[in-house]
Amino acid sequence: MKDKKIKNVFKEGAISSEFIGESIAKHQSKISIGAHNIFLGQVRADEIDGKAVSAIEYTAYEDMANEKFHEIREATFEKFNLTCMHIYHSLGTVKVGEICLFVFVSSPRRKEVFKALEYVVEEIKVKAPVFGKEIFEDQSHQWKVNS
């Protein structure tokens, strides 16, 4: 299903496992779906110069990011045979072990979901103006760089 309206992808704080479970439950009425594929980004306790990351604080150019997420969504529906797609990204503080990105694609067929999900996640990394500030245990910080 294509959706021309630009959605707000951002959620304040971490994305809870309950929210993810409920999103899955909502798809049980969509009986043409045979396969779901879900990507979750989780904040990792990276150690940099002997200090461990304790949280990431996300900011974004929200208007532009939502437009880019919308363009990614449209392009993905063009490329792959998907029934539906959902993207959620955190803003603000997300602690180590918590989830900051939730991408959910569904299709009648499994081959489509694998290709589509990787495409969406890589596009988000490259095109969405979102900025992560890695906060260390001692409250110092550095700006995250995607690899």
Binding site: G41, Y58, T59, A60, Y61, D63, M64, A65, E67, H89, C100, L101, V121, I124, K125, V126, K127, A128, P129, V130, F131, G132, K133, W143, K144, V145, N146
Partner: protein, 77 residues
């Protein structure tokens, strides 16, 4: 023309400001950046892209007015 300049991430940290208005007389995006480099000399050493009205533009693009955003490397997800 009057431009609305937006700063994000480590650029906003450097400018100590997330948004400011600027009166601009020139024509190209690179001239805007030159003005900002004068105001914030540390900007020169930083890696960023420029978006005009929410689309990435090159330094040679014409300034059409509205929002100019300085975007450091993206690190979503």
């Amino acid at each position: 023309m009057r431009l609305n300049i937006k700063y994000f991430g480590l650029i906003a940290e450097l400018t100590s400001c997330s948004e400011e208005q600027l009166e601009f007389e020139g024509t190209k995006v690179e001239e805007v950046i030159e003005l900002l480099n004068t105001k914030y000399p540390d900007l020169k050493s930083k890696d960023f892209q420029v978006a005009q009205n929410r689309e990435i533009v090159s330094l040679k693009s014409p300034v059409t007015g509205g929002d100019i955003a300085l975007l450091p490397p993206f690190s979503g997800g």
